[in-house]
Symmetry: C2
Amino acid sequence: MSSVEPAATASTALASALADTADAVEVLLDALLRDEPATGELHRPARLLAAMRHGALAGGKRLRPFLVAETAKLFGVPRERALRAGVAVELAHCYSLVHDDLPAMDDDEIRRGRPTVHKAFDDATAILAGDALLTLAFDVIAGPQTHPDGATRADIVLIFARALGLGGMAGGQMLDLAAEGRFDGESRPAALGEADIRRMQAMKTGALLAGSVLIGARLGQADAAQTAALERYGRALGAAFQVADDILDREASPEEMGKATAKDESRGKATLVTALGLAGAKRERDRLSEEAIAALAGFGPEAQMLRAAAEFTARRKS
Amino acid sequence: MSSVEPAATASTALASALADTADAVEVLLDALLRDEPATGELHRPARLLAAMRHGALAGGKRLRPFLVAETAKLFGVPRERALRAGVAVELAHCYSLVHDDLPAMDDDEIRRGRPTVHKAFDDATAILAGDALLTLAFDVIAGPQTHPDGATRADIVLIFARALGLGGMAGGQMLDLAAEGRFDGESRPAALGEADIRRMQAMKTGALLAGSVLIGARLGQADAAQTAALERYGRALGAAFQVADDILDREASPEEMGKATAKDESRGKATLVTALGLAGAKRERDRLSEEAIAALAGFGPEAQMLRAAAEFTARRKS
């Protein structure tokens, strides 16, 4: 096998590690989303549970749990703790997809090649399923299986909430909708400038990707310098991921993506592709990927998988 | 003033204590919902912040923070800690109102005499405002100002999540919508039996009211017997509150309630008023109120305000 290129070897190792995490995440999600009530719960309604399972057990790359697990691994955190925190992050990611797909939001009918939750069920059920997935995410991350030290768990809840809320993911979705000129009585804003696009994307996508890395760092009791370096990695990775997504929206087919594409242009959505052009966006994606890798300079070979994630996230085909 | 009845004195003291808590809650909510980003946040979008303020700063009885504070007071918990936890519970209550009012859910246009969030803004903004209020609730309750001990805070996050999620409030709203026969492809269920109505209400309303009491108990490091007694109090109070609400929906005017009334009957909604008749529902309300008071038998005069809350919750006029 000496003819295999180094890049291909790294790619194969990354694919294999991603698949291992995804399998473990699937098992944990399946076990969490069962009909036996947990302590303190009264009853789990079948329809809501089915909608949550539809929204959470649809496969996917499980990139966020992977980032939690690989970051935690730098510090020797037991894998089952990191996966538990990773599952919480994935639940929050799934909640955001369920709500973003709603007719009142992005109005998407297909996700990962299947009907979105509101199409498979209805809008009310999808709203509640998203709400309950978000709530379950906090339940899972605050639980004793995530970390034996309660103060660490409470810290992680705070990191998580800041990544998800008004000043993070939810705020980013608000800015994204506003940029589409969606709101009556508000004049359509001039096309967003590059700085506004970057901020919106840093909130909408970057905050939870960076949050995944920060949660892994906190699980590992990383020191301030390590945490700062990992945050730089996470934010650059998140930005690279989003530019890559915008490029795919322009270039990939719906079949490759498992969802509608070329939507950004038809909605007049401002992305770095519209701001920088396709070639400029590709250069920016590569620059961000290199920035992410450079942020890991203080870590040794144990960070190789995070470096590979930055490299291949920028080159992903779906 | 010797002609004032004891009940009227208790009522005045309760009204005054409720007003004190409501004022403190308003101040804390106002301070939390400002445009300066918190640590870890990137930017707070103005439209989303305004919608969150609309949904959270609309006045109201602030019964849940009152229950947290009065329960915590039994154990000598500093008031500022209890109010902080109470504000988190109120944020979660407000999130539930914002989402429940959506056209896809209960479709209400007026709440506390003002347009609901989706009427004042739009559906997408209301969905995001609810999401961000729920996220902020977890942020507030996990923060160091709620309790110095991290493990206590993590425990409280768990109690809170169980009260709010699939097996609590969100699940209760799902059962309530299902009982209205809302879902295509599912035959309209036979009118809910009394046990089903009680379970649905225990989840939809009771779980967060009981959760408020349990959070106060956990803040105060209550022992197992005290916690069990307080949980019985909270669940009976929650049930009494909901029957009283159903009675008011039948008897009060929209002006008195600050929202539409007589909706249950027009929607064919199953409540204890439909199951037991109006007189039977009133007897059940009084019985539950007495059950709540009886659960506090092990506490002394320091629980007088919780007893008064049970008594007057059952007799409330709005």
